[in-house]
């Protein structure tokens, strides 16, 4: 499952509380290199919390998380190292509205990776071509459509050449007509061998691209398996109920 002997992401018994509310009740899973894992489940099931714990946007209280062999602890050094390896795409894009598309993409390479401006701009233009919107480089995010913004957000994450990409409901804020253009970029990314964890409600994407599907509810992984297993032969009652409601 792995090129150099260890899985890309290890999550073991991770628990997380928001005040008294327990959002994660001991989640355990591993993601191998080049794996594409799709996480599905009803809202409030802890899907987003789980992937936000992986790059420390949320702090888990119990259990362990390791990314590419780096243990996620309170040590600032490890958090920085992991964030440099893990890219994240948000539901609401979170582009920087005061910077142009290209500046959005080159910001982190310049200030975190310490690349020169020319180097990072060349790289940024290549990424914009990869997501199909090089002509928008000098526009501001507010001038783009939702689908284009999300593609810029993907390019922005890729600019840090991460080993893992996390997608937190990347198409939920989009008009139906724009969902496809974003999913196409994600498919291309998956085919290129990127390790990905995708929280989504796009069952078509899950069926077509995922190596593995996790179904979460009540802060736990209720069921996991290949897409065929999921969409043809789900076992747990909760899974069946959920799939019957959304398909």
């Amino acid at each position: 499952m792995s090129d150099n002997g260890h899985p890309m992401i290890v999550v073991e018994g991770v628990k997380k509380w928001f005040g008294d509310f327990q959002a994660l009740r001991g989640v355990t899973t591993t993601v191998g290199q080049r794996d594409v894992v799709v996480v599905i489940g009803p809202s409030g099931s802890g899907k987003s919390t789980l992937i936000r714990c992986i790059n420390r946007l949320e702090v888990h209280q119990e259990g362990r998380i390791a990314v590419d062999g780096i243990e996620l602890t309170n040590d600032l050094r490890n958090i920085d190292a992991i964030r440099r390896e893990v890219g994240m795409v948000f539901q609401s894009f979170n582009l920087f509205p005061h910077l142009t598309v290209l500046e959005n993409i080159t910001l982190a390479p310049i200030w975190v990776r310490k690349q020169t401006r020319t180097e990072s701009e060349e790289n940024g233009m290549q990424l914009l071509e990869r997501v199909g919107i090089p002509e928008q480089a000098d526009k501001y995010p507010g001038q783009l459509s939702g689908g284009q913004q999300q593609r810029v957000a993907i390019a922005r994450s890729l600019a840090m050449s991460p080993k893992v990409m996390l997608f937190d409901e990347p198409t939920s804020a989009l008009d139906p007509e724009m969902i496809k253009e974003v999913l196409d970029v994600m498919k291309e990314l998956a085919l290129s061998g990127m390790t990905m964890i995708v929280v989504t409600h796009e069952m078509g994407f899950a069926r077509e691209v995922a190596d593995r599907v996790l179904f979460m509810d009540y802060g736990t992984i209720v069921e996991e398996g290949t897409p065929e297993h999921f969409f043809t032969n789900p076992q747990h009652d909760r899974t069946k109920l959920f799939l019957s409601q959304i398909l």
Binding site: R77, R84, S157
Partner: protein
């Protein structure tokens, strides 16, 4: 009929249709819609009545103004004759070229900036000619109405004066003719072009050039009132000592513009902009401290090579500080970093470096502080493995040491340098990295040290100007100094306070909140008195400042509280996702704040910040209360108090009238420019 389809295909409409004709327009329809608004006949009647009543009130106010301005009893010679006094007060006549030189530098920088940032604005001829037409009508009305107010004193009849134009004064006739020309020209143009004028436009730059040309023409031709004997005034030309420099300055500005056009052909615009920013930053201290103050510099003392001469301090801080900053900004060199951290720590413990260097007698507090800092450095160097993190920690420790140095009795300049060093040391690890940024950072540091040392040296030096006043600054010159310094100093302080108030660390929150709430709750005048009388009591022994410096400090301290609150509002408007996106990409908190959060926060509250700049500009006039001769005090007391050689007793009302218009001109221009800038940023659109 089972094959009947369930849906109906409507297809697509291909051809574009013309938009419906705009609704009919015309003066009568405009009157109906705007002045007689309302749905029923009754509301139309009352609305129409209200329109008439308020129009009469407006006319009456205008009548009052015109009859006030044009009344032969008004002695405008008090304004025109004392212009130099109001602008620069006691600035010696022989050195007046220094003032002109300052304005010239300002003009050149403005012209170059217009090129570098590209003022691309256009004004449509439609807007322009309508503006001219209305202004023309206004001017004509003003002259025609003149005198009516005195004639009746009863609201508002007769509307117009009954005197024949043959009796009009020359100025009044001239204004009427100008108004008529403006009206007629614009009216004819609009008649001829009609709505097509909306599509034609001229650049703002040409407008500005035309405006400057007109001003030049006017100052060479027009006669202004000058005092004649005791109570009369006559008309005379403006002195060539004024018209000459202005004409030259306008020419210089235009020449500078074309020079900039040529420059931008051979220099990259971004580079030009960077240099201009630096020039702007330097122009201000240079203008105030070198050009206008004419300092006597004791080069022998300054250039002496010793540990406390200005040159010595400059070399010491720029070399040692520069080396430390260069090291702090290095990317990765792990073992070296640890080694140096431990070495510096050991040095601190052993010698109490660098404080011992400056004093023969070391104060009690220094030893423990140095030891603590040294221990922290050694511990950090040994325990932490990441170089950037060590750099951050060392930067912070150095910053803390540098801040604590404030409490050690030693020359003020050294304290200032240490404080400056604290800020740069903290920023260095976050914004360093590539060789280029590292070199830039060292260059910036050397420039800052130079600036601090130079400011101090220039501030200490005696002035060679000979003037009969407590300070060489006075009049509008002083107001400008107070306004710019107040804004320039309060802005960074306000940003720091806003960040501190929203910080997660309780001590910063507490201090910032206390500062803001205390400063805001006390009137500015109190702070001015405080600055003028009491600030010395709170400073370390042996340090005292010029009164103007103390007032600038008081104004900045006061404004900073308002700036901080405005920016805090902006910070609160930033979506949490922006922070998350920053940290998800690996940006540190300092980087996210400086690169993502703060620019957005400031843009969000730009209108409020512009408002506070305008308020602080106007509030500089409060220094009149503590006896500084700003333009208001001169206009209100000095000029009306003159009896010799010319008698200006009783001219206070027209002086105040002039001051009001004068302030209005500046603040209105500024607020319009800010509005344009906001639009160019696309505020509210992105």
């Amino acid at each position: 009929m089972t094959d009947q389809p369930q849906g109906i295909v409507h297809g697509v409409i291909e051809e574009l249709e013309k938009a419906p004709d705009p609704p009919p327009s015309g003066p009568w329809i405009w009157v109906q819609e705007n002045l007689l608004g309302g749905d029923t006949r009754l509301t139309k009647f009352f609305n129409g009545l209200l329109t008439v009543v308020f129009a009469l009130i407006a006319v009456n106010i205008l009548q009052f103004l015109t009859s006030y301005i044009f009344n032969p009893e008004r002695r405008w010679s008090a304004v025109t004759f004392n212009m130099k006094l109001m602008m620069v007060q006691a600035f010696p006549q022989a050195d007046l070229f220094r003032i002109w030189l300052s304005i010239g530098i300002f003009f050149v920088l403005v012209a170059l900036s217009l090129v570098a940032w590209g003022l691309r604005g256009q004004m449509s001829l439609w807007t322009l000619s309508r503006g001219l037409r209305n202004a023309g009508v206004f001017l004509m009305l003003m002259t025609v109405m003149h005198g009516a107010f005195e004639a009746s004193k009863i609201l508002p009849i007769p509307l117009f004066s009954i005197d024949s134009p043959a009796d009009w004064s020359g100025t009044r006739l001239l204004i009427f003719v100008i108004g008529l020309a403006m009206f007629a020209g614009a009216f004819m143009y609009l008649r001829r072009e009609g709505i097509a004028a909306k599509d034609k436009s001229i650049p703002f730059l040409s407008l500005i050039a035309v405006g400057m040309g007109l001003v030049t023409l006017v100052i060479w031709t027009i006669d202004l009132p000058i005092p004649d004997g005791q109570f009369d005034e006559t008309l005379g030309p403006i002195a060539t000592s004024t018209t000459g420099p202005w004409t030259i300055l306008f020419a210089v500005a235009i020449a500078a513009y074309f020079f900039g056009r040529w420059l931008i052909g051979i220099v990259e615009p971004a580079r030009l902009r960077r240099w201009l920013v630096i020039l702007w930053l330097f122009s201000y201290p240079v203008i105030i401290m070198v050009i206008q103050r004419k300092p006597i510099l004791e080069w022998g003392d300054i250039l002496a090579i010793s540990k406390d001469s200005p040159l010595g301090l400059f070399l010491l801080f720029s070399v040692i500080g520069g080396a430390v900053i260069w090291w702090l900004a290095l990317p990765d060199s792990l073992p070296v970093g640890r080694g140096i951290a431990v070495a510096i720590g050991a040095l601190l413990i052993l010698a109490g470096w660098p404080l011992e260097f400056f004093f023969d007698e070391m104060p009690a507090l220094v030893g423990p502080i140095a030891t603590l800092a040294g221990v922290a450095l050694i511990a950090g160097g040994l325990m932490i493995h990441d170089r950037v993190e060590i750099a951050r920690i060392i930067g912070s420790v150095l910053a803390i040491v540098a801040l604590l140095v404030w409490f050690v009795p030693m020359p003020f300049l050294v304290r200032g340098l240490f404080i400056t060093f604290a800020f740069v040391a903290v920023a260095a690890p976050s914004f360093g990295g590539t060789a280029q940024t590292r070199n830039n950072m060292v260059a910036v540091w050397v420039a800052i040290v130079f600036l601090v040392v130079a400011t101090f040296v220039l501030g200490e030096a005696e002035t060679a100007l000979e003037f009969q006043s407590t300070t060489f600054l006075g009049g509008f010159n002083l107001s400008i100094l107070l306004a710019i310094s107040g804004v320039a100093l309060s802005f960074p302080l306000g940003v720091v306070l806003a960040l501190a108030r929203t910080s997660s660390m309780p001590i910063f929150r507490l201090l910032a909140t206390a500062y803001i709430e205390i400063v805001r709750s006390v009137p500015l005048i109190t702070w001015l008195f405080f600055g003028s009388v009491m600030i010395s009591l709170f400073l370390p022994g042996g340090i005292s400042f010029d009164e103007i410096v103390r007032v600038v400090a008081a104004v900045s301290i006061f404004n900073a509280a308002y700036v901080a609150e405005n920016i805090r509002g902006g910070l609160q408007s930033i979506n949490k996702g922006q922070y998350e996106a920053g940290s998800a990409m690996g940006l540190s908190t300092v980087q996210s704040t400086a690169l993502i959060i703060m620019p957005q926060a400031i843009r969000a509250v730009l209108p409020a910040l512009v408002g506070s700049v305008i308020v602080s500009f106007k509030d500089t006039s409060l220094v009149a209360i503590i006896g500084l001769a700003d333009v208001l005090l001169i206009a209100k007391s000095f000029v009306p108090g003159q009896t010799n050689p010319h008698n200006f007793l009783g001219t206070q009302p027209q002086m105040l009238f002039f001051i009001a218009i004068f302030y209005w001109m500046f603040t209105f221009t500024f607020s319009r420019m800010a509005l344009r800038y906001e639009k160019s940023l696309g505020l509210g659109e992105r």
